[in-house]
Amino acid sequence: MTHTLSNRLQQPDVLETGSAGKSRRPRKKLSHARSQRRAGWLMLTPALIHTGLWIAIPVLATLVLSFTDYSVFQPPSWIGLTNYIEIWNDDVFRKATWNTVVYTFFTVPFSMAIAVVVAVFLNKKMRGRSAYRAAFFLPQVTATVAIAMVWLWMYNPQYGLFNGALAFFGIPGQAWLANPDWALSAVVLVGIWQGIGLKMLIYLAALQNIDENLYEAAAIDGASAVRQFFAITLPMLKPATFFVFVVSIIGAFQVFDLIYVLTNGGPANATTMMTYEVYRSAFQNFRMGMACAQSVVLFAFLLILTVVNRRLTGGDEV
């Protein structure tokens, strides 16, 4: 590398005439450094302005506004911790937090379990592999709103596919999304279905990195495929599992589109989520300060979960 550098440095000298020769080299190097620095900052400027205006300032503003009472129509007034105290005592937000946790801890592990099995199946050379992969991945590339519309229709109590299929077996149908006992499960099912694809893909990539020799050695020792899965595949997938888990939790905690289309948080707040409460506070009740405080709570949950998970799975060794 330095070799090329010095080679290159000498070339201009050959072309330049006498006096401009060797004495100019250090200065030229200096101006290179300066022009690089200037170019670097110049190239970063649009990104810095954009990120500053639309992410950095909003995050700080969220923190500050969470201590205010602000209705947009009047200037914000400082009320200290009042919003947080109200959140603590708010049954609806508690319900939303609980629902979010339930939604997350049902969708994430279930779709991870399915994803890892599917990934192991698809990691072999076989006919139709990319077609299978595409089928599992399709819900990931299509819009949640569009997907939710289809599920809304499939869950339809009068004409829906689910009740039709149940009727075929003589089982009476349900108003899945209108029944407080069923609504959250119905939403969770969609979440699991939608979440498999991305997790499968990350697992597939991680499987490529496992040394084939491990399996060969295990096979010689007479380990069954199931045994190999638990003794080799799963332990080797630990870093990927940590990553998938964190990413999925962050995603699942922010479920919104699904709720908006399927249930609007109902019936009787049975499916409302933290994100949905943020939306309601800010854009239906125009309580911007409250919405900010709620989103700070959401953020705190995500931070804690990420850190705890890192400790538990030893993710920091990765």
């Binding site: 190239m43 649009p46 990104a47 990931q140 499939m154 990553f243």
Partner: protein, 304 residues
């Protein structure tokens, strides 16, 4: 995929053919086919519904295949709601976001990967930190910035009095235009390229912008395809932001249009499913034709 099937040497081929016939293999395929059908079923059901007549949709239990394939639902759905306008708006916004991201994201990614200057690592860490901020922790102030954008939509210099960027293309195009994630991806791609090229070019007196545009960027074409596809998809599928900043019908994107159409009472399911198909098909096609880039992008984002 074709390379997977066309195994190189004869013995391997014979071996794999024998394996394919084994009961285990058959079972594997049965399981995979069944689960793949389960995964695709909602999409199939969407298309089947979109071509059924209202009379058929009112039957219980529902028919699986349509008795008559009524494709006229599509033109009628377009009359029932301006889905074509929604579609066009989504297309404009997704394209706009992609262009902004590719130009400015690549530029920033290049600067972070290849240009030497003090503070670079700090800036990079800053972008990574911004990457971790969840949508909901910034959405309220983002909305307020749009609302109080000075000198737009009747606002004075202090952002008071009007509606700012609300109900404008600005609000749809600018805030979502560039994500730290794209910058991060671009940096990773530029970082993987050899250093000799830039040194040679720099000493030939080429300026940084030239090196970026002419030498390095042509080398990461697959990366550009990947980031473009991810950005386009993300933008096309986005719902919350356009929902918040637009209320005019002519500015609605297709995802919001669908939700509004569904909530306007008395849902006509065949039309709704026709609209949903319109909202879904571009992404499905894009994915099927560019699967390689999508997968590369998602895994790259995941593993690195």
């Amino acid at each position: 995929m074709t390379t997977d099937i066309a195994a190189p040497s004869a013995p391997v081929r014979r071996g794999s053919r024998r394996r394919r016939l084994s009961p285990q293999r058959v079972l594997l395929h049965v399981v995979l086919v069944l689960s793949a059908i389960t995964m695709v079923m909602p999409f199939v059901w969407m298309i089947l519904t979109s071509v059924k007549t209202p009379a058929e949709l009112a039957q219980f239990p529902p028919t699986f295949l349509p008795e008559t394939w009524d494709w006229s639902n599509y033109p009628r759905a377009l009359e029932a709601a301006p889905f074509l306008t929604y579609f066009r708006n989504s297309l404009i916004i997704a394209t706009g976001h992609t262009l902004i991201t590719v130009v400015f994201g690549a530029m920033a990614g290049y600067a972070l990967a290849r240009v030497q200057f003090r503070g670079r690592e700090l800036v990079f860490l800053g972008f990574v930190a911004m990457l971790m901020i969840p949508t909901y922790t910034k959405i309220v102030p983002q909305f307020l910035i749009v609302k109080f954008m000075p000198l737009f939509g009747g606002n004075d210099i202090l952002g008071q009095g009007g509606s700012g960027w609300l109900n404008t293309w600005w609000a749809l195009l600018i805030p979502g235009g560039l994500s730290p994630f794209a910058i991060f991806l671009f940096r990773q791609f530029y970082l993987a390229l050899p250093k000799e090229l830039e040194e040679a070019a720099r000493l030939d007196g080429a300026n940084e912008f030239r090196i970026w545009a002419r030498i390095y960027t042509p080398l990461i074409k697959p990366a550009i395809a990947t980031v473009s596809l991810l950005t386009f998809q993300e933008s096309w599928n986005n719902f919350l932001w356009p929902l918040l900043v637009t209320s005019r019908d002519d500015l609605r994107v297709i995802q919001v249009g669908l939700a509004v159409f569904q909530q306007e009472g008395n849902t006509q399911w065949a039309y709704l499913m026709a609209g949903t198909t319109l909202a879904t098909v571009p992404m499905v096609l894009l994915f099927l034709f560019a699967q390689r880039y999508f997968i590369q992008g998602f895994t790259h984002a995941g593993i690195k």
